[in-house]
Symmetry: C2
Subunit: 155 residues, 2 copies
């Protein structure tokens, strides 16, 4: 208590490695998140990772039995990630890496992509389909609670 | 689905008004959050709000019956906020405003400070007392889920 805690000098703080999660099913907040991450990586001149997760739980049981349907989605997502990577490079970010995964987005990103890429900032959209809702989606919520790094939820 | 959603130009995205929540009881992540908010406000040259909430639920029933105890805490917090405001100004941020409230921090900030100050970014610490824990506190969690603006939880 008291003001002893405040007796410090302000140290400029920036991030050194940024990871952005993009979700094709949530174009509005995901796009904002992407634009923010690209702007930040470009102005700090730091590496940018772009991750998208194929939500295998989303595919119906029927679809999941058809390997060519999943394979088609995989190829769509791979070309989507490549397009995002190219957009970031075109904007001026030098180091850009794309990541693909399958499963629950929040868990996959926290448990696999983050340990692999080691960002100090994770950028994600709020995932709200409904513009009148201010609640964030379960994946954004999971990530902001469980990621070992700073997390920004962009609305 | 498909890549039609990705057919957009990257628009540079920055924030125009930043609010940072500081919590004296959580000096480490709160200090990081403050440094980040000040760095950002200074580099974007945008107004910065600094809010701290007297957690009246924290005071024991006995204490809460003693008006001079609460009044003492109020004065401590007021001078703390003033110190934070001065630190931000010393760092180079031109427009800095301090806010004080009483109650549950998350709710107060989302329902009172944000509608009043209208930031497009809320910066808060993760509130973890325990450095080995990656879970964020209930107030940071409430704010990231309920704030109408973008929220960054700084770790």
């Amino acid at each position: 208590m008291g003001n002893s805690n405040i007796d410090f000098d302000v140290q400029p703080m920036t991030f050194k490695k940024i990871l952005v999660a993009v979700d094709e099913d949530d174009s509005s907040s995901s796009r904002k998140a992407f634009c923010y991450a690209v702007t930040l990586a470009n102005s700090y001149k730091v590496p940018l990772g772009i991750v998208t997760i194929l939500e295998t739980d989303d595919l119906s049981v029927y679809d999941s039995l058809q390997p060519d349907v999943i394979e088609g989605r995989r190829q769509e997502m791979e070309s989507a990630v490549n397009l995002y990577v190219q957009k970031a490079k075109d904007f001026g970010v030098d180091e850009v890496e794309g990541f693909l995964g399958e499963g629950k987005p929040g868990k996959k990103i926290v448990r696999e992509t983050i340990p692999q890429f080691e960002p100090d900032l994770l950028v994600c959209g709020s995932e709200t389909q409904d513009k009148s809702s201010i609640f964030i989606g379960s994946q954004a919520s999971y990530m902001s609670q469980n990621a070992p790094c700073s997390v920004i939820v962009v609305r």
